[in-house]
């Protein structure tokens, strides 16, 4: 059937569709929310932003729907942040809480930097996945719920009961529930509604949020570019069906005006951004061993790396991956190895070898919930001190952390440059949230400067030594195999400037000194970070990594309420840039906000002698001797700006009293 023919069919079926349903929910004075007017004349409510979620059983396509919805909004010029809701199991049973899979999309008139607080609207393919979200507190009071209605008439009375119960509960919880005949509607167009329902829902959402259908069609064509035209046509048909259904049957309609962004944007998640960054950095070898949530970066690179002459090597384990990257770096250009916590732990000895021998190396750790196997798919920033102090003996290395999706891209270019300029290991700490979140960022102008220069094979000057450390900076020319006159034996043992094994006390001291000095020399190249908010005040929040957006949003909200709070976000954690102490001193109090463990100060058994602080707090306290407090969560999720606002208010009150 051609698209045209399909469309006609569609129009015919429209005539037969059931009467529009209105939201069940507490009645309110606000007309649009009570849905008293007929669908056709639903007024458009203009909003600054909305948080929308789509959840289904795993495999039903909610993820794809959510991503497309985010992309369409972005194409229209909206600020967008999409975050994945990842099921705990690979193929969890249908209709189970553990199976909730989907996407949260935050759409706004302004730039969006984080996933926000709770949902304004949620679409669910069954009531169980919805329940799991409700129980995790993800629905704000008054949340609009669009729920597949087929379960109400299921043959299994237990299912019917569960469904009814859930709807009751939602109503009690102050939600506005719309039961939508998704499957019934889809069946009009496709034989297997499990494959297509998501596009119908996409249409619904386009209708509700007044998105441009042409752009939506483009997005579908783009997203399914690798598939048959027939599939694309089918999906567009369902999109239109959903859109029309919403227009006709629903009494809700929003518009979130776009921002003024008009430059081309890249829409990818943090792991793809990392992959793009690796390509753009001129690195040519990525050695890895699969591990969630890092692997998708390698998946992407596996597809495209060869287009820039690169190669992804899946090694037999993480140790081999790191050693392979080191061998490759040693013999030519700096290589990268990508992993997550458990793999990072395994690489400690190998990383130490690179530190000792001064081989440039980029190590990406996409952090996940720990310790041990922990929460493989979940968010945590628990590896900071491990990254800084990992390895036996003195292991000076650079530790940096991207704070948004764009940073993920550029961090690879920066890391490669630092690694090669200083013959150092650079650890890049991303996290599970950045890994899977999407946020448009301006399309970069590719520069030749980003790329690593070709492997230097020029002769080494007679008499030069492989560790001819500059006494001020600790730097020395790296001798690369193939360079005439450069023959020497690199070793992980203590060595002199000729790379000869040496147990002499002075030589050992000298080697450690120069390796440490490189860190100081690098530190001198850093600039003081900017303060977000006011230059001084009652409270300064310090953060690092993927929490930036949430922290800054919290600061904005609090400042709007008149609080004198600001924030400082660090990209370089080791060494730290100059100028931080001065910033800290301009505030009455300082507190870090982090996604890792800290003992609560007011806990019975906890006192100043045994309290375990959050990781950045610990670093700052040690360096600046400022009494830095911390507030942290290990809930396996990105911290919400609202939670930060509450924590700050509470602290302001507690101490302010």
């Amino acid at each position: 059937m051609s698209t045209q023919a399909l469309k006609k069919e569609h129009a015919k079926k429209q005539a037969r569709r059931p009467a529009a349903k209105k939201a069940k929910g507490p009645s309110r004075p606000d007309k649009s929310r009570r849905g008293q007017s007929g669908p056709e004349d639903t007024p458009v409510v203009t909003m600054k932003e909305h948080i929308i979620e789509i959840v289904s059983d795993s495999g039903e396509g909610a993820q794809r729907c959510g991503q497309a919805f985010g992309a369409i909004a972005a194409r229209m010029g909206n600020g967008v942040w999409t975050a994945e809701i990842i099921p705990a199991e690979i193929q969890p049973p249908a209709r189970s809480a553990a199976g909730a899979s989907g996407n949260r999309i935050r759409v706004a008139s302004h730039r969006v930097t984080n996933w926000g607080d709770e949902d304004d609207l949620i679409v669910a393919f069954n009531e169980q996945v919805l329940l799991s979200r409700l129980e995790e507190g993800e629905l704000r009071p008054g949340c609009i719920v669009l729920l597949e209605d087929k379960w109400r008439t299921d043959n299994d009375p237990e299912i019917v009961a569960a469904f009814t119960e859930t709807v009751e509960r939602l109503l009690v919880d102050d939600c506005r529930v719309y039961e939508i005949p998704m499957e019934t509607e889809c069946l009009k167009y496709v034989p297997d509604p499990r494959r297509g329902k998501n596009m119908f829902v996409l249409g619904l959402l386009c209708g509700i949020y007044s998105l441009d259908l042409d752009i939506a069609r483009e997005q579908i064509a783009f997203a399914f570019a690798k598939k048959d035209q027939a599939i694309i046509d089918n999906n567009i048909l369902l999109l239109e069906a959903g859109h029309d259904w919403a227009e006709t049957n629903l009494d809700i309609k929003f518009r979130i005006p776009p921002s003024d962004v008009s430059k081309p944007q890249i829409v990818v998640n943090g792991n793809i951004a990392l992959g793009l960054g690796v390509m753009a950095s001129g690195m040519e070898v990525c050695a890895m061993y699969p591990i969630t949530p890092a692997t998708s970066a390698s998946h992407y690179l596996s597809e495209v790396f060869q287009n820039v002459g690169g190669v992804v090597h899946q090694a037999e384990d993480e140790i081999a991956a790191c050693a392979f990257a080191i061998g490759s770096s040693y013999a030519g250009k700096c290589a990268v190895t990508i992993t997550s916590g458990p793999g990072f732990a395994l690489k400690q000895e190998t990383i130490g070898l690179a530190v000792m021998t001064e081989i440039p190396l980029v190590v990406v750790n996409v952090q996940r919930g720990g310790p041990s196997t922990g929460l493989p798919t979940k968010v945590e920033q628990g590896d900071l001190l491990f990254a800084c102090f990992g390895g036996h003996g003195d292991n000076p290395k650079v530790v940096m952390a991207p704070s948004d999706i764009e940073d993920c891209f550029y961090s690879m270019i920066t890391a490669r440059k630092i690694a090669e300029a200083f013959n150092m290991v650079v650890v890049v700490l991303s996290d599970a949230s950045l890994a899977s979140s999407q946020q448009p960022f301006p399309r970069p102008n590719v520069s030749e400067d980003w790329l690593a220069p070709p492997v230097d094979q020029s002769a080494v000057p007679e008499g030069a030594m492989p560790y001819d450390w500059d006494s001020r900076t600790g730097l020395a020319r790296r001798f690369i195999p193939g360079q005439p006159n450069g023959m020497h034996c690199l070793t992980g043992l203590a060595h002199d400037r000729r790379s000869r094994v040496a147990y002499d006390p002075d030589i050992n001291q000298e080697g450690i000194l120069h390796r440490s000095r490189k860190l100081a020399a690098f530190q001198k190249t850093l600039k003081a970070p900017d303060v977000f908010g006011g230059d001084e005040g009652d409270l300064l929040i310090v953060g690092w990594g993927g929490t930036r957006g949430a922290i800054e949003e919290a600061i904005e909200r609090l400042r709007a309420d008149g609080h004198k709070v600001s924030s400082l976000h660090l990209t370089f954690l080791q060494p730290m840039p100059p100028g931080i102490k001065e910033v800290l001193e301009r505030f009455d109090r300082v507190m870090t906000v982090e996604s890792n463990w800290s003992d609560a100060a007011d806990d019975d058994i906890i006192d100043e002698d045994n309290r375990r602080y959050s990781e950045l707090a610990w670093l700052l306290r040690a360096r600046y001797l400022v009494d830095i407090d911390c507030w942290s969560e290990v809930r396996g999720q990105p911290i919400k700006p609202g939670a930060i606002v509450r924590a700050i208010r509470e602290r302001l009150q507690r101490k302010g009293s």
Binding site: T46, A74, R75, M76, G77, N78, P257, P258, D260, V261, S262, P264, Q265, I266, L276, M279, E284, V285, Q306, N307, V308, G309, V311, H313, E316, D317, I319, A320, A321, A323, F324, I326, G327, S328, S329, Y330, A331, G332, K333, T350, L353, P440, R443, V446, E448, L451, P454, A459, P481, G482, Q483, P484, M487, H488, C489, L490, T491, G492, L493, R500
Partner: protein
């Protein structure tokens, strides 16, 4: 991947490398240590093959044997215990122009390095591996290794080892992608050299187990074989090594063994009485990982930039722009 070919060529025309050109620091192994013979054989090979020292890399782990690269005047990478192979793979992957050797010990290779060893065989990269098998941990002063004979005493097994040793040759032959396996002994230098030369000439991963005497901690282990030539079995073949008439006189136990015969190789390998010496297995047709994965062309910055732009195109959206409301 920039090879200053002109330079090598010039060097070759100008002068010949002598044995001394391959000599690094003075070896510090014990007197009578079999490692010395292996070093000599390798230096001879380098000289015979006129390997440019700057194009040659010896990668090792940690152990007495792993000090080897310091004694060569080539590039050397004396890395971590057990991890020589993945380092060597990383080198070879992007630098097929380099001659890459791995020097490892029985502890380094068959204990802590087991996983890398098995998988290196599988990757089949063009690397020559010399496994110095003295059946003991030398550097850490006398602990049992996985190849220690049953019952020998060591500092961790004062009452004698508990287990039969593994046979590194048999294990290697169990890996589907194996492409070259040989066995040599330090006390027949001529065969030692010839076997290493065969290994070097084989394109692929060539694994040479070298029985090596450690007079310091496992003296007499090989006495029977050293003193009794009939306890040895010399393998020869036109596709393997040949036995010189002089050697043939001493070692009368010989077998013409076709290295393409894996089943026979396994049988030969399964005993050390007689102790086989020679090329056990060779499959020149096994593809090398670095060839399977090598860039299909030279990637100039322009090509790279274009490829990145193409990736960006995939993910680019063009927002309609300014607020409409």
């Amino acid at each position: 991947m920039d090879k200053p070919l002109t330079e090598c060529a010039l060097k070759l025309l100008d002068e010949e490398y002598t044995l001394d050109d391959y000599k690094g620091l003075v070896p510090r192994w014990c007197t009578g240590c079999g490692d010395n013979a292996i070093l000599a054989a390798v230096q001879r090979l380098c000289r015979d093959e006129q390997l440019p020292p700057e194009k040659t890399v010896f990668v090792s782990g940690i152990g007495c044997s792993s000090r080897f690269p310091h004694y060569m005047h080539t590039y050397g990478f004396h890395g971590l215990h057990g991890r020589a192979m993945p380092v060597a793979e990383g080198i070879k992957m992007r630098r097929p122009d380099l001659n890459v050797f791995v020097i490892t010990g029985d502890g380094d290779c068959c204990s802590i390095g087991t996983a890398h060893w098995i998988h290196a065989i599988r990757y089949n990269m063009n690397i020559t591996v010399l496994m110095h098998d003295n059946g003991i941990y030398g550097l850490t002063k006398n602990q049992a290794s996985p190849t220690s004979p049953l019952g020998i005493t060591s500092r961790t097994t004062p009452g004698g080892t508990y287990l039969e040793p593994i046979n590194p040759v048999s294990v290697s032959l169990g890996i589907r992608n194996v492409s070259f396996v040989a066995q040599a002994v330090d006390w027949i230098p001529e065969m030692l050299h010839d076997i290493i030369a065969e290994a070097f000439h084989h394109k692929g991963f060539s694994f040479v187990r070298i029985l090596q005497r450690c007079p310091e901690f496992l003296d007499h282990r090989f006495d029977d074989w050293v003193q009794e030539p009939d306890w040895m079995l010399l393998l020869h073949h036109e596709n393997g090594v040949r036995i010189s008439p002089d050697l043939a006189k001493i070692y009368r136990n010989q077998e013409q063994h076709d290295p393409s015969d894996r089943n026979r190789a396994r049988e030969i390998a399964s005993t050390n009485h007689p102790m086989p010496v020679g090329v056990l297995y060779r499959d020149p047709g096994m593809p090398c990982y670095e060839d399977l994965r090598k860039p299909d062309r030279l990637y100039t910055p322009d090509i790279v930039k274009a490829a990145i732009e193409e990736e960006f195109d995939k993910f680019t959206i063009h927002p309609t722009g300014h607020p409409t409301g």
